[in-house]
Subunit: 95 residues, 2 copies
DNA sequence: TGGTCATATGCCTGTCAAGGAATGCGAGGC
DNA sequence: GCCTCGCATTCCTTGACAGGCATATGACCA
């Protein structure tokens, strides 16, 4: 999901402000179908929501699924805040 | 990278303790070549280091690359800690 | 209702990655 | 020196996915 650079770019842009599909197409310099497909993936992953405004679809980011990523990262973050310095010293010493 | 469930399982296991390839094979119930290939990917990504102990290769996690993930997540985390409640209220209201 | 605009979907192709089977390779034990 | 063990690498097949083009859908306007 976040492995796709294009999708991260979409999220980074939607993080600043919601956008229509056309705006994203212009910003990404990609074909419109490609953008729509990425948006579909993001939609099904729950990372974005969309509302219909006239003929446009306005996409907006939904942060909640990212908390799962943050939760997964939690134990690791604890490790490096606790022991990173010691680990670095260890790794440097064995190079 | 982290999109692969198998690799996340490997990391989750190495987070608790370093392991040899054989231990990982047994823990994951996968073929040995498959595990070695995933370890190669993780090695080239800098997420694990390995040392040679007798005939075994002992793999150990390296947390430093995960800080990049954490950094990428930073702006989003700020958003939800600041505004998640408001966003949830907004989304609920428009369902 | 016919036409147009904004978006979604289907079809096609190229690319890439995962997994298994077989094999190569270095370290130890006899 | 040979054989075995632990792991890495190669080859192969299969499946997933990105991107483009063409086309469908759906909302609005004349």
């Amino acid at each position: 999901m976040l492995a796709e650079p294009t999708r991260r770019r979409i999220l980074d842009r939607l993080r600043r402000s919601e956008s229509s599909v056309g705006e994203l197409v212009a910003a990404l310099g990609m074909s419109q179908p490609a953008v729509s497909k990425h948006l579909k993936v993001l939609r099904e992953a729950g990372l974005v929501t969309c509302r219909t405004a006239a003929q446009q679809r306005i996409y907006r980011i939904d942060l909640r699924p990212l908390r799962a990523v943050d939760d997964w990262l939690g134990p690791y973050r604890r490790m490096w805040t606790d022991h990173l310095d010691a680990l670095e010293r260890h790794l440097d010493s064995q190079e």
